[in-house]
């Protein structure tokens, strides 16, 4: 492919003491792609996410972005908030909403950071700042509408039903205007109906907002329907990469998930 990938991870390793949680993993995501990262429990998927989003500083390797708008940058060692500004947003495996704020406020928090009015002007409530505040409110409401949570806008986040909380995490991440969205087990704990809605939502986000998506997921039906390419990790190492069909029939992947057949 001649296209420049929007995210390029080269030879990434993360070592905790004697444990190589992520071991020389390389990965590429092209513009507009939905890519899945799968693997058995403890394979290092979430650690990989943490390295890319700046929660951990990787021991070795390079994380490079080529945003559709803006210039190429190396993310190693940057703070999470700086990485977020550069256009990467994520959700968590265990829901981490600001639970004592309203649904709308959760989205506004994400939205605010893209705009820049200083502390002084927000205390003085200058006209410019008020206009900005209004815009944040409108944008946030629009995002909630898209995700389908507008009727809960003024409820506390902790009072949302489970599926709603998961969607709100996505809404909050979308509010920061990312070009790449990293979803950590977005369908965990959802019922089949909610999972179907989620598939539709993710496809719509990609189409309407022109973003790429990297997701970690254990729900194989979701992974197979959504993703164009799949990376498989096991014990921190990348063991396979390919289209859903290729992965389904890859003997190494089957071995990683089901164990080796002794008689074979």
């Amino acid at each position: 492919m001649s296209e420049v990938p929007i995210l390029e991870v080269n030879d990434l390793s993360m070592v905790f003491g004697g444990l190589r949680a992520v071991d020389s993993v390389s990965l590429k995501i092209n513009k507009g792609e939905i890519v899945a990262l799968i693997g058995p429990n403890g394979a290092g998927k979430t650690t990989f996410f943490n390295c890319v989003t700046g929660v951990y500083v990787p021991t070795h390797g390079e994380i490079k972005i080529n945003p559709p708008e803006g210039k190429t940058a190396i993310l190693n060692g940057l703070k999470p908030n700086t990485i977020n500004e550069k256009g990467l947003a994520r959700t968590f495996q265990n829901i981490r909403l600001f639970s004592s704020m309203t649904v709308l406020e959760n989205v506004m928090i994400g939205r605010h950071q893209c705009l820049k009015s200083g502390i002084l002007s927000s205390i003085l409530r200058t006209p410019k700042q008020r206009k900005e505040e209004l815009k944040v409110l409108e944008d946030s409401y629009r995002i909630l509408e898209k995700i389908g949570l507008e009727e809960y806008a003024n409820d506390l986040a902790c009072n949302l039903p489970y599926g709603g909380q998961r969607r709100l995490e996505i809404a909050r991440a979308m509010a920061t205007d990312p070009f790449l969205l990293l979803l950590d087990e977005p369908a965990a704990g959802m019922n089949p109906q909610e999972t179907n809605d989620l598939v539709v939502l993710i496809q719509r986000l990609r189409k309407e907002d022109n973003i790429s998506i990297l997701l970690i997921e254990h729900d194989m039906s979701l992974v197979m329907t959504l993703s164009e390419r799949i990376y498989v990790v096991d014990y921190g190492k990348m063991i396979a990469m390919g289209s859903p069909l290729e992965i389904k029939n890859n003997s190494q992947v089957i071995k990683a998930y089901l164990g080796e057949d002794i008689d074979a």
Partner: protein, 302 residues
Amino acid sequence: MNLEYFFSLFLGGMTRGSIYALIALGYTMVYGIIKLINFAHGEIYMIGAFTALIIGGALSLTSMNPVAIFIIAAIVAIVYSAAYGYTIEKIAYKPLRNAPRLSALISAIGVSIFLQNYVLLSQTSDFLPFPNLLPEFGFLKPVENFLSTTQFLILLSTAVVMILLTILIKFTKMGKAMRATAQDQQMAQLVGINVNRVISMTFIIGSATAALGGVLITTHIGQINFYIGFIAGIKAFVAAVLGGIGSIPGAVLGSFVLGLTESFGTGYISSDYEDAFAFIILILILIFKPSGLLGRKENEKV
């Protein structure tokens, strides 16, 4: 029962409560965001008072209008103390952000001792008089028996500070970022909030309100020394714990409860026990409602 006596005790208690509230805000906001009891906070209040004293004293040698002097002294004191708060955080707490909480606490106690002694060395241990800069407000004439001008000023400025702070926290971008950081610092960073800036801002706001308290108390009492920050800091800390540390309305409520208890206690029981009341309340609260009046109970994970 003498109603006038009761009223003067009541307003005296409200005045004390206001000062405690101005200091307790800083304790509770800092605790809410980085889970640190900033024991140097009382010293910020003391430095605010001293700055106002020095500026006020120097300017009163000129022929300026006393009210103007007071306003300038107050502003300089607030800005100077806010700078102190900001610097202390950067020097003494930020390097310890990922250290065990006890390390930062000890660092805070160290800063407190350092600041007390530095003011002691540079200013002597004597009580220093604060020039009387404010005229008596004419409209307070009918109630002057139980409400003095400075008391009125304290109540008024505390109310204004509370309202401004509520607006800041509820409605502005910085306020939302503060609440988000208090709830989940890492997640806040991941939605693009610059946590360091939020923490600095918290220290600046907390120090500014404490300094305002310092300026107001100096004009009210008329004399200060290096030690006032320690006792006021401890009492404001009690007030913050009483209301539920980490909660802003709690700190205000706790301060008024404490102020009124002290005032009525000294008025009706004995003034010998003035300082004991604060600690009796603290002990009772820790026994019966450890999370404080408005504090949230921490769920223990099993």
